[in-house]
Each structure stands twice: as C-alpha cells, then as structure tokens.
C-alpha cells in the first residue's frame, strides 16, 4: 500500500504541530448568522432610510399640524366676514389675503384643509374596508356567491357614481358624515374587486391549507393568515385613493351637496378661486397649492412604501445604475488603451 501522501506543496507555510491538533469543542465554530430582522420594524427602517419617504412624511405632518393649529391660533374666525376689508391682497395681517367678503383666507384655507383631510382619509378608508369585507366573502367562498357579487360589482361600476352620491346625500342630509358614507357606498367596488383577486391568489397557498387542516375556521384564516400578507401593498393603493376622495368632495360641492356652509373644503375654495383667478390669483393659488402638496406627498409616500415592502425593486434600480456606470468606465478604458497602444 504505497504512501498516499504526496508532497505537492512546500512546508514553508509556517504551520506548527499544534495547528494540527483537533479543535477542542466544535460547537464554538459558529458561522456568522445575519442579525434577526422582524418584518415590520424592517419595513420601517427601510422607509426611514429613503429620503423621499422622509420628505413626504414631513410634508404631510406639517400640513396636518397647520390644519389643526392655524384655525385655533388665528385671530380671525374662519367664517367671520368683514365687509370693510374685502378683497385685500396677501399682507402680513392676512398672509393669504382676504376673499370677496373679507374673510381671512389663511384661516379658511387651513380650516378647509382640515375638512378635506378628514373626508379624504376617512372617505378613502371606509370604501377600502367595505370592499375588503365583500371581496373577502366573494374571494373565499367562490362559486355562485362569487359570481353574483362580481356581476353586481360590474353593474354598479357602469352606473355613474354621482347618482349614488346624490341619492345618499339627499336621503341622509348634507353633513360631512353623510358625505363620507356616500363616498363609501359608491366607491367600494374597486377595492372589492382587487381584494377578491388577492384572496384567490392566497387561497391555495400551503400555509393556508395547513391552517385548514389544523381546523381553523374561514374567518380566522382570512384575518390571521391572508390579511397580514395582503395589507402591505393594499395600503399603497390606499395612498392614491385619498386624493380621489378629496376631489370627489370638491365635485359634489360643485352641485350643492358638498360641505354645508359656512364650513368649507379645499376643493370648494379652489373651485371658487378659479372664478377669480385672473384678478385675485392668490385666492385660487393657495388652496390649489395645498391640494397639490397633499397629493404629491401621498404619491411619494405610496411609492416609498411600495419600495419598502418589496426592497427588490429599489435594489435593482441601484444595481442597474451601477451597471451603466461600469459599462461606461470599461468602454472609456478600452478606448484609452486603444489610443495608448497605437
């Protein structure tokens, strides 16, 4: 049995005999394991790192704070008219100027922001939840139930939502709460359809089957298992639904069903401002500016949230940018080399 060992490498690598002693306890050699990351705090961390998200959150908080504080701290009542100081341009006394009947626009705009935000947020959230429940029922039970609900959704989508809104608002009277209920009852179809699709997607996933075999009832499965997986990116949809609700309210006030005066909303202020935007530009400019900022911030936040939930997208952006940079470098180097060795 000839000697197995072959010399193949020099011995001058500075090893000593005790190097070859067996390792005292093998459990000590533990390879590095990445730190444990909980899902939601991880999403939060990624969100905070994203400059765009931070900017949009800051912008939203500033607007919300102003909407709460300004009407309280401002010396003028939002609905107090003073006919003597009508149509004043923006000045220190009236930062946003005064409107046709002398009401201080600075207070009115932020009072309007308050109503618009409330209607926007609640008006987007209620149809979302209503759609979720109906979508869950039709997605989970399937068969005839699903077919009927989906047909109803198709039909209701064909009818202009304005008819429902007027009907509900007239029956319930013009208060903000009835406006929100109207928005909910006429806006749930979209989110119902997307929720149904999501639930169908998850229905045959193995962890859902496992829960069924453990004896869990459908309700528990949807709430404990499917919803946490879906809510993440459905929230992104919510961000874009809020501006929709704000504009819907402005539309409704156009035909006399919006917020009952003297309360006002951004939509109302900016469409009134539109009438006079040639002479008193500021009356129109500030409310529309705030609407644009809200929509802008919500949109950026929605995008950032989508990236935070699924970091793959943003990482790939970063890598693609690197790809083009390196390609440009290599092309430049090869050109330099070609030039050099000519």
């Amino acid at each position: 049995m000839e000697e197995i060992k072959l010399t193949g490498h020099p011995f001058d690598d500075g090893l000593t005999d005790d190097d070859f002693a067996p390792v005292p306890d093998r459990s000590a050699i533990v390879d590095s394991i990445r730190p444990s990351m909980r899902y939601w705090p991880e999403v939060g961390r990624r969100l905070m790192k994203n400059k765009v998200a931070v900017f949009s959150i800051l912008l939203l908080t500033v607007i919300v704070l102003m909407a709460i504080l300004v009407p309280i701290l401002s010396p003028y009542e939002y609905d107090a008219t003073s006919l003597m100081s009508a149509r004043k341009p923006p000045s220190w006394e009236h930062p946003f100027g005064t409107d046709k009947v002398g009401r201080d626009m600075f207070t009115r705009v932020f009072m309007g922001t308050r109503t618009s935000l409330i209607i926007g947020v609640v008006g987007a959230f209620l149809p979302f939840v209503l759609g979720m429940v109906i979508g869950a029922v039709s997605g989970w039970f399937g068969g005839k139930v699903d077919m009927i609900i989906m047909r109803v959704v198709d039909i209701m989508l064909c009818i202009p939502s304005m008819i429902y809104m007027i009907l509900i608002l007239v029956v319930l009277g013009g208060s903000p709460t009835s406006l929100i209920i109207a928005l909910a009852l006429s806006g749930w179809m979209g989110s119902a359809r997307s929720f149904r699709g999501r639930i169908l997607q998850f229905r045959n996933r193995e962890f859902v089957l496992a829960a069924t075999t453990l004896g869990a009832r459908p309700g528990r499965i949807i709430v404990r298992h499917i919803l946490p997986n879906i809510l993440g990116n459905m929230a992104v949809g919510l961000c874009s639904a809020i501006p929709g609700a704000i504009f819907a309210e402005a539309g409704m006030s156009y035909i006399g069903l919006g917020i009952s005066p003297p309360m006002t909303s951004l939509g109302q202020l900016s469409s009134d401002g539109m009438q006079v935007f040639l002479t008193q530009f500021y009356l129109f400019f500030f409310p529309s500016l705030i609407i644009c900022l809200i929509v802008f911030a919500l949109f950026l936040f929605g995008n950032a949230l989508r990236d935070a939930l699924d970091p793959k997208l943003r990482d790939e952006d970063y890598l693609a940018r690197m790809y083009r940079k390196t390609r440009r470098l290599t092309i430049r180097n090869t050109k330099k080399e070609a030039a050099a060795n000519e």
């Binding site: 444990s36 496992a210 298992h225």
Partner: protein
Amino acid sequence: MQQEYLLEVEGLKKYFPLGKGRTLHAVDDVSFAIRPGETLGLVGESGCGKTTVGRTLLKLYKPDGGRIIYRGEDITKVSGRRQRELCTHMQMIYQDPYASLNPFMTIGEIVSEGLEINKIGANRMERTAMTYELLERVGLSREHANRFPHEFSGGQRQRAGIARALAVNPEFVVCDEAISALDVSVQAQIINMLMDLRELMNLTYLFIAHDLSVVRYISQRVAVMYLGKIVEIGKASEVYVHPAHPYTQGLLGAVPVADPDFEKSKTYQAMVGEVTSPINCKPGCRFANRCPYATEECRTVTPDMKAVGADHFVACHRL
C-alpha cells in the same frame, strides 16, 4: 377490539371539472389500507394524483366517490364539529418549506396555532411551554420561537412545519413530498428525525414522494401510482426486488444509482412515450400506450388488482 387497520380507503375518486364537458380524473378508484404504526410509501410521477389522494384524506378536497374509514368509522361525509375533532388525529406535512409557513407569524405562533384552535393546554403559559418542548423535539431551540420564517434555512423551516403538525399529537400524518424540496444532506437529517419521531410518538405515515430510493428507506409498504390508479402495492422489499408491473420495472430501471461503473454498464432502454392526458380517460389500462407488452385486452378492459405474492398485489392483465 383493536382494529386491524388504522385507515382504510376503498374506491376513492376525485374529479376536477374543467368546464365544457372536460373533467380531470385526478384520483380514480384508489384503495389501500394502513396498519397503526406502519408507513405506507406512495410513489409515482408528477401528475399521477398522489398529492390529491393525500389532500382528499384530510378533506382539503371533497371526495367524489369511495369511502374513507378511520379506526372503523366512515368519515367520508363527515363535516363540522366532528371533522374539526378529526383534525387532532390526522395531520399533514407540506412540501415547500418557503410556502408552508406564514411569513408574518413567528415560528412560536405557527407551532402553537394548532394548540390554540383545538384548545389544548389550559392557558397561554402552558401552551408556550408545550411549544418550546415541541421545538426542541424537532431539533430547533427555544429562542427560535420569536423569529420569523425568512430568517431560517430550508431544513429548519421544514422542522417547524413538522412541529406544527405534531402539536396536536396526531396518530396519522401525511407527508406530502416532505423532503423533495431539500438538499441531500438536509434531507437525511429530516428523514432520520421523522423515523425517530415515528418511534417516539408511534405515528403512522403516508409518505408521498417521487424519489423511489428515499421511499424504499423509510416505508414498510409501497404503493406505485400511475395516472390516478394504484398499479402495484406490497411490502417494500418485495416491490423493489421483484417489481411485477411493467411500469414499476421501468421506473426502477430509470432511477440513476450513485455508482458510475454500474450506471455506465447498465444497458437500459428508457421507457418510450409520454404520460397520456388524465382528462376524460377511457376504460382500459392507462399504461397501455407505453407498455411493451400491451395487448388489445389491456386497451379495453381496466385491469383489477391480483395477488402475486404475500401482501403483493398488481393491476395488470399479463400476470
């Protein structure tokens, strides 16, 4: 009187309607029985209906025909409260470690969900204690309990899946391709653990897999399925050494063995043709189009099971 069989399945049928008069005959008249503490291997190529059999037993799919008898009680049509009680007796281990655990629940919650639903254990404290004990039993440690699935390797996740199934202390466990998605070294760890658990909790397994060598190792009896039917069933040693059905022979011949000289010397003629479509199947042996010995009778008459040895049955006209 001690029942001879823990579970008996007679003529189980499961069809999936595909609309426009086309139905998929996933499981077509399957019968077998398992004794307590025994492991029956169920092998076959993909699309032969073995997973559907497993899921129909646990009522994930409603059976379309035949009877399932568990400890003498016919549980085919059972539902509601009785079915939920059955959940504590019959459980399932799933294939894909990445999809069988809810990414938004910690391992502790996943394992203890079975206890919560079936109200095992007096209060939360006791349930957490039982969860820790289960995790240790499957080779995970206590501080893994509040970690999320995405922080674990494939093997560790499969262990969590097994802990979840064993939480309700079942008698009968269906392992639906439990190790197919794992690497070889991790596979060995899980198989060893499953066999230890079988002894510890005297479990009865229905081990579903397409890897014949693993099934030979773990199961006492083996059933070979082809296009929704069992073509051969018997003691593992019998079926592997003297395969009677042409399909089993072809299958065993096709499996590559980790021995270069043997493989290179093997003069094996690969089975010709493709699996026929399981939709609207006509009577007759479904292996007829690929079987070298197919006769006219094979193409028209469905063969029924015939005994070819002690506890060794085959569905083929040739014998």
